[in-house]
């Protein structure tokens, strides 16, 4: 049985603590009044900051474009005020968005590990059974991240932040200067109670499956009931995949696409899915490599690692396929209401937007094409770190333009949020892994997994001795 070492526990708690300090600093340093925002704008202008100069393009795309358009016509002074208030909202959003990006990244990864795990069960995979407990342990992170997500839902509903522009005052009120007829036309879907209820339902469904399958998986070890428990797990997993396919798509509309309520893309749900899926596979690989190096995963050999690396490789290409499909089709047709989305990202987020394609596609593909490299841990770790950083940037570029626009930066609040959720992840994962046997002995395919040997690779790493 694995022991969650005191060292690792202290490390994770330290990450949580440092993260909290970073997040706290972000909230503390955000401007509270329009005057403060004006000061910051002035500062940026004197620094010759490119962010401030190209702001007009940004607001043209962003939320409340109608309201903003009106203010262009009015006198300069009121325009400055409106501008300052807009910037104030964006600056106030910064610490919230920093938390939200990291939260969505970790919550999404955990969710996709859960989905991948369900797929492995439903597909009756023979190779991955030895990794089941690793995946189950990672999904323990679903509970704390869901709790934070509920807090975010509450904070948005209570108007503590301006992340979702359609939640602003007067957006649905025709007499208000903030009235947004486009969003109002979608009020059947985009409305606060509906959004909050749907968010809670998604989280509840995912957590319910996670709770059930973990319990049943441990029960399988000692069940000895002719496969009854196993069969139940199988059926529930089929149901979960069904539910997941629907909730994931809707979640991506509600939680990410809703940040730019004027914009739409039919592919979006699956694009988010692919980004989270490849990250999830990477996380499984990294945690597996770590646990194996600690001797906590007897039986896991280089072939298992090879398979995980193949998934990382394959789904990196899949992500790129969807990224390119969405981008190219919008670029090609160049319909204004869709193109603003990418125009904004090209103008204000040029470097991260393009860097992520290198990190998420070129790098892992070149690194992991070679069959030998796919079973060498440090290769996978290097590729994996690039993939995870790349997909963090992907989420960052999905969220930030809608919430903070040109005011983005990557600093203490963002790093703090990552460290906080990383600490939570490590704590949740490894304490959960320590709670159950590392080998799911009751699974009918466990022997296949123990004997698993991919035909053309040589076993060199840990666990190789167990094979022949």
């Amino acid at each position: 049985m694995y022991q969650f070492s005191g060292k690792l526990k202290t490390f994770s708690l330290a990450l949580i603590l440092i993260g909290l300090v970073g997040i706290g600093y972000g909230f503390y340093s955000a401007p509270k009044t329009v005057e403060e925002a004006k000061e910051i704008i002035a500062q940026q202008a004197s620094h010759g900051d490119s962010h401030a100069t190209s702001h007009e393009e940004v607001s043209a795309d962003g939320h409340k474009s109608e309201a903003h358009g009106e203010s262009h016509a009015s006198v300069d002074e009121s325009h400055d005020d409106a501008h300052a208030e807009h910037v104030l909202h964006q600056l106030k959003n910064k610490p919230w968005s920093a938390v939200y990006v990291a939260l969505f990244f970790f919550l999404g990864i955990t969710l996709l590990v859960l989905a991948f795990y369900a797929i492995q069960r439903v597909a009756q995979a023979g190779w991955s059974i030895l990794l089941f407990r690793v995946m189950e342990a990672i999904t323990a992170n679903l509970v704390p991240t869901s709790i934070v997500m509920v807090l975010i839902v509450i904070s948005a509903v209570m108007h503590w932040n301006h992340m979702f522009p359609w939640m602003a005052e007067g957006v649905f009120d025709p007499t208000s200067p903030n009235y947004d007829p486009i969003v109002d036309g979608k009020s059947w879907w985009i409305n606060v109670p509906g959004w909050a209820i749907r968010s809670i339902i998604y989280l509840a469904l995912w957590n319910a499956y996670r709770w059930f399958i973990r319990r049943n998986s441990i029960k399988e070890d000692t069940a000895n009931d002719g496969g009854k428990t196993y069969k139940l797990s199988y059926n529930v997993s089929v149901g979960f995949i069904f539910v997941f396919m629907i909730t994931e798509t809707m979640m991506s509309w509600d939680w990410i696409m809703g940040l730019d309520p004027h914009w739409f893309s039919t592919l979006f749900g699956w694009y988010v899915l692919s980004s989270l899926l490849v990250s999830a596979l990477t996380v499984i690989a990294l945690v597996t490599i770590y646990l194996r190096s600690k001797g906590a995963l007897p039986g896991v050999n280089d072939s298992h690692i090879h398979d995980l690396a193949k998934y990382m490789f394959g789904f990196s290409i899949f992500w790129t396929y969807l990224w390119f499909s969405q981008f190219m089709l919008i670029w090609y047709a160049d319909i204004p209401e869709e193109t603003t989305y990418f125009a904004m990202r090209f103008n204000e987020y040029n470097f991260p937007f393009l860097a992520m394609v290198v990190m998420n596609f070129a790098f892992p593909v070149l690194l992991l094409l070679n069959s030998d490299f796919k079973s060498i841990p440090w290769f996978i770790v290097i590729g994996g770190v690039a993939i995870l950083c790349g997909h963090y940037i992907d989420i960052f570029v999905m969220v930030m333009p809608g919430t903070v626009g040109a005011q983005w930066s990557f600093g203490i609040p963002e790093i703090g949020a990552i460290l906080f959720f990383l600490g939570v992840f490590i704590y949740a994962t490894f304490s959960s892994f320590a709670k159950a046997s590392a080998i799911p002995t009751g699974n009918p395919f466990i022997e296949e997994s123990k004997h698993y040997h991919y035909y053309n690779i040589e076993h060199r790493g840990e666990g190789s001795g167990d094979h022949h």
Partner: protein
């Protein structure tokens, strides 16, 4: 690949088969003579083919105006059939390439026929881009060749040009992949042939395959590499086909989900066609021990999965069409306007055949029933034809300007050409079934010991299983563990 198989996995080869039995069973249709039913089917298909070719020549000789197209609806049955046939072809590559990457042993009994289906379907698909041209004799202008017009080249920005590259590459790679897999099987027929003519033919087809260890090693490597290449290829081909529509600015066509959604639809319809064909073939060629109930069930599961993906895509299309707030989206192929407009019958056919009917497959009894599978597979083939028809015709019938709203009525030539391609497909497939080993015997032999019913039973009872016939160069790995 893995040497141990869990006892709860169902056997893939039924009965007490030896390696020799597999050879006999697979060689039988080739070495025997065709029966009456085969000839009836063949002549019906041939008649349809000839009729179809007559319609094609009539079109080219007289002009595209003999079709039901009009100046607003410039694409209808031609491109519908094109996309339909390309889609059908995708299951073959999926079964041979993607299922190989996922190490699905059950693909071995069906991959040969699925690939044949791919190639013959792509033949049919390939006809339409040629014959729907106004001036097909200038068709070679789509190729970027140096020429006497000051080297006048093609514009690489058009998805129709990408189609040329996609389809031709797809056909070439599929053909090479298929043929490589056929080498050991042709060699088997060659070695068994008693008639000198037959021996000569299969000696030519098998390229001197002698089955040495080094050959097998490279054979496996090349299969894996080709599978790795064919998988992105199969995704990209139907993606490019989808971009014929998605790159446009027509509401209902311009949709970013089209690439993966078309691919999912292609797998969905392709598997349906494999079910239709194998449902008949397993019976008439007496290959029921290889294409078992379980194979049918697994393919049905793939159908439910891809059908589910397609259904989510429909829901997404429907939702986002509303979500855009654009009034033009009200008349797209999946909208309230389509459900109630003049093409409502096509819309509801799509919903009925593609979404509702396949849900029956959730019931295990239906999933494992040959008859119900056959009926559902036909329903899906029809439904997927309607999907493409709806996407193309409904969208074009109600564009941005109400003064361009028009309807499409097919003529007998439209229908005749489609019927002709079905006939041509039938001719090719029937000839294939009589002359090619329809199951990859070399591959099935690799799983006999691990997944054959006889061997599985023996292992369960704890009786050691000796190879029935000791084939040089193979070792029985299942006994070593």
């Amino acid at each position: 690949m893995s040497h141990y198989e869990a006892p709860i996995r169902e056997p893939l080869v039924l009965g007490d088969k030896s390696y020799h039995d597999i050879t006999e069973d697979i060689a039988k249709p080739i070495e025997g003579v065709a029966n009456k039913n085969w000839y009836i089917a063949f002549y019906i298909s041939l008649a349809a083919t000839l009729w179809g070719f007559g319609c094609i020549f009539y079109t080219i000789g007289t002009g595209i105006g003999v079709w039901g197209l009009n100046k607003n609806i410039g694409w209808a049955w031609d491109i519908t059939n094109f996309v339909w046939w390309v889609g059908i072809g995708h299951a073959g590559t999926l079964i041979s390439a993607v299922l190989l990457l996922f190490r699905q042993k059950w693909r071995m009994a069906i991959n040969r026929s699925a690939e044949a289906m791919t190639i013959f379907a792509v033949f049919q698909a390939g006809l339409f881009p040629l014959i729907h041209m106004g001036r097909p004799w200038n068709g070679y202008w789509v190729l970027p060749m140096p020429n006497q017009f000051g080297s006048l080249w093609v514009n690489f920005n058009s998805p129709l040009l990408w189609d040329v590259f996609a389809i031709s590459t797809y056909l070439s790679v599929s053909l090479v992949f298929w043929w490589t897999g056929l080498l050991p099987d042709f060699a088997m027929i060659r070695d068994r042939a008693v008639k000198p003519f037959q021996k000569k033919i299969y000696a030519l087809l098998s390229f001197g395959w002698s089955g040495r260890a080094k050959d097998w090693q490279r054979f496996e490597e090349v299969s894996l590499v080709l599978a790795g290449l064919a998988t992105p290829l199969v995704l990209s081909v139907h993606t490019i086909v989808s971009m014929d529509f998605a790159t446009s600015i027509n509401p209902g066509w311009h949709s970013t989900i089209f690439p993966p959604y078309f691919v999912a639809g292609a797998i969905f319809s392709g598997f349906a066609m494999v079910q239709t064909l194998l449902g008949i073939m397993r019976k008439v060629t007496n290959l029921e021990d290889y294409i078992t109930r379980m194979h049918i069930e697994y393919m049905n599961i793939v159908i439910i999965l891809t059908g589910g993906i397609v259904a989510v895509a429909y829901a997404t299309e429907f939702f986002i069409a509303w979500y855009t707030g654009s009034p033009y989206e009200n008349y797209t192929y999946l909208s309230v306007g389509a459900a109630t407009g003049p093409y409502a019958w096509a819309f509801w056919s799509l919903i009925l055949f593609n979404i509702i009917t396949p849900q029956l497959l959730w019931i295990k009894k239906f999933r494992r029933s040959f008859v119900i599978t056959f009926i559902i597979s036909i329903a899906i083939n029809i439904g997927m034809w309607f999907e493409r028809f709806d996407i193309i015709a409904i969208v074009l019938s109600k564009g941005h300007l109400p003064s361009t709203w028009w309807r499409f009525e097919p003529t007998f030539v439209d229908v005749g050409i489609f019927v002709g391609t079905i006939g041509f497909f039938g001719v090719l497939f029937l000839l294939y079934a009589r002359t090619f080993p329809v199951i990859a015997q070399a591959e099935v032999k690799t799983i006999l010991k691990s997944s054959g019913e006889f061997y599985k039973k023996r292992r369960e009872q704890g009786i050691p299983t000796k190879p029935a016939i000791n084939v040089a160069g193979t070792t029985d790995k299942s006994n070593k563990e």
